[in-house]
Amino acid sequence: MTRNFVYASIIASTAILTYGLAVNDFVPVSVTVALLGIAWIVLFVRGLTRFSGLAFAIFIIISLASLWADVFPVFALAGVIFALLAWDLTRFFQRLQMTNSPQDARKTERAHFMRLALVIGLSLAGYIAATRIHVTLTFGAAALLALLGIWGISALVYRLRSHE
């Protein structure tokens, strides 16, 4: 099941970004995105899962760039979410390969999908809230908030890595 979800996520992320760019007249870019999506699927089929991190980063950057290209923001968000799903499920699929107990695999899949559903649900809720709330900030205040955010993320990453 996880394998199919990986395919579905890659296809969804690629299709949404390709469509979003194509309707905004960025046809050559949308074709490139489609080709990148196909390449990601081929790499996964061939078991070259170490490239999934690179593919994930490329799709995040494309989603980011698509906002500059006036793509509908929900498409960019969907591109990010599906790329995140594909990247996560690729790693999870590898982990499932390590066990030879189908019963464990089913239980773990269920728990993992529930956790992912929670993350995606909260992301969507947060995104909707963020787009509804309009706060006008000066550049200085925005930069300060950004620095605060970066410090928060750094502290979080430091804590996570120190636990490893």
Binding site: P73, I81, I153
Partner: protein, 430 residues
């Protein structure tokens, strides 16, 4: 790059791009990634305090026997949301039922038990520590631990039974057995005549010969049967045992060694074993079931290899008593004839049991005309080799491994004993 570092880099990129362009929607794109990171932090794995216990249903097994392995892992610490418990299997053992790796949720102070069934090939297999890898549900943080537990499984060679190996050593031991001792006394086979002595059974008087003599009565004398010293030499040289496509005839040599050793020990002989392979291994001679067990254990560990010291076959003479019987189990190569002839000249009685490498290899090469021609040439070369050996007085069993071993031994060694006596007398007169 680790997954956390990649996520962090992408979050920085998105946030900086959003602030740089003063685009709130762009900053909001970082939300899924930030929440994903937070989900990793939430209920990440704590320090692992696990202990493991492994129970193996048998310490010794035959190839193909099912062996049950029972594992119990106890968590003495906090809850582990997702932990991979992996029992690394030794090479040549395969799981036939159940799972050697589990991916489970292990609550605090709980334990989990499971079993799996495995089968293995010949050898001594050592189990290593159980590997535990605990991760959060999203696989961002991980902790590894090796849970100390040991185990060993000895898979003994397959057993093929042979009722009797007719050997003819020049020298026997004092204890009675089944091997002709070339000495008159009590026995079954007629050995000769001697003058009647008081105490001889009237049944043993040879009336026909006595009737031809005046005042002398002759008694039949029978050949004594005793036990003997037998040294089995197993040739484990890689160059004669292994062929293309990872095929090896060595397992058949092992099977023959087991059959020969079992048969000779069952008849009361003193048997030693010398394995010439990856490591030269000498099992000192002994009697009975205990010796059979030692030989089986050494054969279980036998591996092919190349000796760095000697390229050709070496049979250390000091290990075998003079005039004893040596049984060499080897596919043979051209250079072995001179060594075997030397041994023969020094008084050892030699029996060579040779699994036929030509037939063995030909079976794996198909049926093309070139293969047929090559097989024919190789077979002729082997025939010449075996004929040279027989001319030096060595008994040879050329065993096509597709046939049962007992059948090959019976047909090759069931010649009339008179024929063997004649060979011995011929060699003795030289």
């Amino acid at each position: 790059m680790s997954r956390i570092a990649l996520l962090a880099a992408l979050i920085y990129l998105i946030v900086l791009a959003g602030v740089g362009t003063l685009n709130g929607a762009m900053v909001a794109l970082a939300l899924p990634l930030v929440l994903y990171l937070l989900a990793g932090l939430w209920r990440g794995p704590e320090e692992m305090h696990l202990s493991a216990e492994r129970t193996i249903s048998a310490e010794r097994a035959a190839p193909g026997d099912s062996v049950f392995v029972h594992l119990t892992i106890t968590n003495h610490g906090g809850a582990l949301e997702q932990v991979l418990l992996h029992d690394p299997l030794p090479a040549f053992l395969t799981v036939v039922d159940g799972a050697s790796s589990r991916l489970v949720n292990l609550p605090a102070h709980a334990s989990i038990s499971w079993s799996y069934t495995l089968q293995g090939k010949r050898g001594s297999h050592y189990f290593e520590n159980i590997q535990a890898i605990a991760e959060d549900r999203l696989g961002l943080m991980g902790k590894r631990a090796a849970l100390p537990t040991r185990g060993q499984l000895l898979v003994l060679p397959s057993i093929s039974r042979v009722r009797h190996i007719p050997i003819q050593p020049r020298q026997t031991r004092v204890y009675s057995g089944v091997i002709p001792a070339h000495q008159g006394g009590t026995g079954i086979e007629f050995f000769g005549l001697r003058e009647y002595q008081i105490g001889d059974s009237p049944h043993h008087i040879n009336w026909r010969v006595s009737a031809r003599q005046d005042n002398v009565i002759y008694s039949n004398e029978y050949e004594q049967e005793r036990v003997a010293d037998v040294g089995i030499v197993l040739d484990g040289r890689r160059k004669v045992n292994e062929f293309g496509g990872m095929r090896s005839i060595f397992e058949d040599s092992i099977l023959a060694s087991v059959a020969v050793a079992s048969s000779l020990l069952a008849e009361g002989n003193r048997v030693g074993l010398f394995i010439y392979g990856k490591r030269n291994k000498w099992t000192s001679p002994g009697y009975g079931k205990h010796q059979r067990e030692r030989i089986m254990q050494d054969l279980a560990l036998a591996e092919t290899g190349e000796s760095q010291n000697f390229s050709s076959l070496i049979i250390p003479r000091r290990l075998f008593p003079p005039n004893s019987q040596i049984i060499l189990i080897s596919p043979l190569s051209g250079g072995d004839v001179s060594l075997l002839a030397q041994l023969r000249a020094r008084g050892y009685q030699l029996l060579v049991i040779s699994p036929d490498p030509v037939s063995f290899e030909a079976r794996g090469l198909g049926d093309s005309p070139s293969v047929k021609l090559a097989t024919r040439i190789a077979r002729l070369q082997r025939e010449v080799l075996l004929r040279e050996l027989r001319h030096t007085g060595v008994q040879v069993v050329n065993w096509d491994v597709a046939r049962p071993f007992e059948q090959a031994v019976r047909s090759a060694l069931s010649r009339p004993t008179a024929f063997l006596h004649a060979i011995q007398r011929g060699v003795g007169n030289r």
